[in-house]
Amino acid sequence: MSKEINVHHITRVEGHGNINVVINNGTVERCEWAIPEAPRFFEAMVVGRSWNELHHITSRICGICSIGHTLASLKATEAALGIKISEQDLKLRKLALHAENMQSHLLHVGFLVLPDLMAVGSVIPLASSHPAEVKTVLKLHRIANEMSNLLCGRTTHPQRLIPGGFSKIPTAKELAALRSKLMDAVPSLEAVAKLIKGLAGKLPDFKRETEFIALTDPNEYALYDGRIASSDTGSAPAREYLAYTNEYIVPHSTAKWAKHARESYMVGALARVNINYSKLSPMAKETAEMFGLAPVCHNPFMNNIAQLVETVHSVEDSIKLINELEADGLVPQPDYNKPEIKVKAGSGVGAVEVPRGILFHDYTYNDKGICTRANCVIPTNQNHGNISLDMKALVPQIIEKSKSEIELTLEMLVRAYDPCISCSTHVVKVNGN
C-alpha cells in the first residue's frame, strides 16, 4: 500500500509551505518540508539605505512580527551607532513587544489552532457554533491590538518606534486605561485556557529530543534582551549569534536552515518556556501547571500551550511594567520627538525574542550612517530543520493511520511551530522542484 501526501501551500500559517511525504509499503520513502514562498532579499535591499530608515524597511520582512523586527533592527542600529535609550523607553519597548506577543499568540492559538482542536476548517464556522468563545478571543485580540496601537502608533508596521526611543509616547492616562483593560482581560484569558484545557487531549503525544535556543536573562523572562542560551551548551552574548545559528543552504528543499549542537534546534515559545521557566509570572506558571507543561518538554505540539502560557505572562508583566512606569512618574517628551543622534561607522547586532523565536538583525554602517552590510536570521528559518526532523520521526509512528489523518497530524505539527514563512529574508524556492 502506498500513500503520497502532498499539502501545498499549507493553510493557517503565515506564509507558504509544502509538505511532501511518500510512503511505500509501510516505509517512508520521502518526507520533505518545502518553502515555495517568493524570496524578497531584504538584506540586499537595505544596503545603501540610511540608519534612520532600516527599521522601517526591515519591519516589512514580516507583518505579523513587525514590532519584533523593528525592535531587533533598532537594537542593531543603536548598538552600531552607540545610541543609548532611557529606562522609560526600555519599559515602553518591552510593552510594545508584549503587545505583539499577545496579538500573535492569540491569533495563532485562537484562530489557527483552535479550529484543529475543534475539527473544523477555520475560525469562521466557530463564529456561529461557538460565538461566546470566539468573541472572547476577539476581545483579547483587540486589547492586544489596541496596545500595539498605543505603543507603536499602528497595529502592523510600527511608527512610533525610532532610533533612540519613541517619536510619541502614550500619556499616563492612556497607560492607566490600558492597564484596566489588561486586568479585565484576565478572566477572559482564564476562560480561553479552560476551553483549550478541555481540548488539549487532541494534541498528539509525540516526543523527540532536541536542542532549544532562546534568550535568557538572570532577572526576567527574557524577551527584549538577554544572552543566547542553549539547552545543550551554555550561553553567550547575542553578538556571537553566528556561532549558534550556523546557517546552511539545503539542496533538496528551500531555505537557509540552521543547526547548532545537534542536527537541528527549536526556537519559540516552547524553547523560551523550557529555558526560562523559573522567570515566568505567577499566573503564567499556574497556567503551565494546569497543562502539565514543565521544563524540559520535548513535545513540539506543546508549543501551542507554551504560547498560551506566554500570553498570560505578557498580560501580567505588562500590568507590572505599567505600575512601575506609574510609580516612577511618566516623563513626558516633546511632540514629534526626534532624539539627537551622532552618526558614526560601526556594526551592531540586535537580538529579540519575537513570537516565533529568537531573531537577529546585524548591520554595518559607514561613517555617513549608510548601511553597507546586513544579515537577518529569523526564527522560522531556524525551525525548518527541526520541523523536518520531527516529521521524519513522526511519520513512522502514525504510518498506519489514514492518509487524511496523517495529513492533518503533519499539518498540525507544522502549525504548532507557527511558522511565519513570510519572514523570507532567506527563503527561496529551489530550481527544478
Binding site: 501551500h9 493553510t11 493557517r12 500559517v13 503565515e14 506564509g15 507558504h16 517568493a38 524570496p39 524578497r40 532579499f41 538584506e43 540586499a44 535591499m45 544596503v47 539605505r49 540610511s50 530608515e53 522601517h56 524597511i57 516589512r60 520582512i61 514580516c62 507583518g63 505579523i64 513587525s66 491569533l107 484562530f111 489557527l112 479550529p115 476548517g121 477555520s122 475560525v123 469562521i124 463564529a127 476577539l138 485580540h141 491590538n145 502608533g153 499602528r154 497595529t155 502592523t156 508596521h157 511608527q159 512610533r160 525610532i162 517619536s167 510619541k168 543552504i249 537557509k256 511632540d335 514629534y336 520627538n337 526626534k338 513570510s422 529574508t425 532567506h426 527561496v428 524556492k429 530550481n431
Partner: protein, 245 residues
Amino acid sequence: MKPKVAFFDFAGCEGDQLQVANLEEDLLALLGQVEVVSFREVMKEHSDNYDIAFVEGSCTRLQDEDRLKQIRKNAKIVVALGSCAAIGGINSLRNYKDLDSVKKTVYGDQAKLFDSYAARPIDAVIPVDAYVYGCPIDRDDFLHVVKSLLLGKKPETPTYPVCVECKKNENVCAFERGQFCVGPVTRAGCNSCCVNEGTICWGCRGLVDNPNENSHKEVLIKYGLTVDDAIGKFRLYFGWQEAKR
C-alpha cells in the same frame, strides 16, 4: 446572495491580510456581508469559485504570473491589497540592485538556484479593478473600498497628496522639524497616520496621479538633502512607478 471573497498572497509580508484579521468586531460584521471562500492565513478550505479576489504582494517571478492570470480568470473583481500589490511597494527597492549580485549577497555561491525578476505591482501582469493602497493598508480605507464594491460603486481614491490630510490633522510639518517627508507627492487616504504618530510620510501609498516630482525634489534639496538622498527618498516606495514614468 453574498458575494464570495478570496484572499491571495504573493511577495509581501502578509501585513495587509493581518490588518484584515485585525478588523476584530468589524470583521464579524463584514462576514455578514460576504462569504470568504479562501483565506489561507486563517482557513483550510479553498474554492476557485469567487467574485472578489484580494491580492496581496508583488509579482516577482515568472511563475507568479500564471497564478495571477488564473485569479483574474476566476474573479469578477480583482483588488490589489496593499502597496506591494498596488504599486510594487517596498519590494521595488531591489529593482535598483543588480539581481545577480543581490542573490549572491544572500545566497552566496548557491545563488544560481533561485529565480526572480524585478518586483512589480500586479497590474503590470493583469488588469486590476480597485486598489487599496498602503503599507500596510489602513483598516478604514479597506472597509471603504469593500463597502463601495458591495454597493456597486467605484471606490473613490484620493487624487491629492498626504499633505491635505496632514494639514487637516494640524501636524507640525516635518520640514519645520528638520525632517524630510514625501507627503507632498504621495497619494492620501491614510489620514496622514505616520505624521500623526510623530514621524514623516515615507511614501508608502505611492505617487499621486500627477505629482510635481521636480518641484518636490527641489524642496528636499532646499531643506538640506543631497541630490542622492532626495532620489533615495523617492526610491523607498516609488521605485516601480518612477521607472514607468
